[in-house]
């Protein structure tokens, strides 16, 4: 996949990681004591708290890794030489050169085909002469 499509994919995956992170954390967060008036929230089963402590770490690590990957891809972009006009000028130059080389090629091709025809003519003449000179025994 070309570099710009990879960059676009990377942006989309950063977005996906971000909202997965927030969504998961928000859905699975244990209740927290808001005000001293209300009693402590009831303790939760251990399954939640054991995995839960690492989830923010894992998910944020994935997010940061994706961002670093994006930076690496940006560094891998080819250097943009000049602007639009420079590119258009280069295209015009290349087109002119291409036309010149094409015409040269066409000339050489025609000359080569002419020579080929000549050689074929001469060869058929020589073959005819051979046939005529060779006496059947």
């Amino acid at each position: 996949m070309d570099i710009i499509s990879q960059l676009q994919e990377q942006v989309n995956s950063i977005a996906a990681l971000a909202f997965n992170t927030f969504g998961t954390l928000q859905r699975d967060a244990p209740p927290v004591r808001l005000s001293p008036n209300y009693p402590e929230p009831p303790p939760n089963p251990t399954e939640d708290s054991a995995n839960f402590a690492e989830q923010p770490k894992l998910m944020s690590a994935a997010l940061v890794k994706a961002a670093k990957q994006f930076d690496a891809l940006v560094a891998a972009l080819p250097p943009s030489e000049g602007g639009e006009e420079a590119q258009l000028r280069r295209i015009a130059e290349l087109q002119a050169e291409n036309d010149a080389v094409g015409q040269e090629l066409q000339k050489q091709l025609e000359a080569a085909e002419k020579e080929l025809k000549q050689v074929q003519e001469l060869f058929s003449q020589a073959a005819d002469n051979c046939l005529n000179l060779k006496k059947p025994d």
Partner: protein, 168 residues
Amino acid sequence: MATATYPPPPPYYRLYKDYLQNPKSAPEPPPPIEGTYVCFGGNYTTDDVLPSLEDQGVRQLYPKGPNIDFKKELRSLNRELQLHILELADVLVERPSQYARRVEEISLLFKNLHHLLNSLRPHQARATLIHILELQIQRRKEALEDIKRRREEAQRLLKESLATLDGQ
């Protein structure tokens, strides 16, 4: 339940009855459309250009100008994005009711990122064209050299065979 058959082909085929005998007796193909046209009730334009962010009502975060340093802008937008994500996490912890503004800013950053990447595409297209032209020129030059060499070789062989025949 009523089912409809496929629509019949357009009736223009009758005009091309004698096309094989006389290609001029049938009408010319329609000329290419210019400007805007309507297709199945939708308006399309023939001039495909990336609409600028202001046209879509989105604030542009990276500087405008003739030549943008894409790498620098992409990197700074990435950093801003990370900072905003962190801010959102903070806001959710401390003042959960104010998430909307942060979420809006994050989506603004994403729109800017995608717009910047899309504006790289014309540049990529021109660079591809340049590359193709260079390859074509190189191939043509190689073919030219090849033909020259073969012609010289053929001339040499003819001279040699002439010399051999004369010496005989």
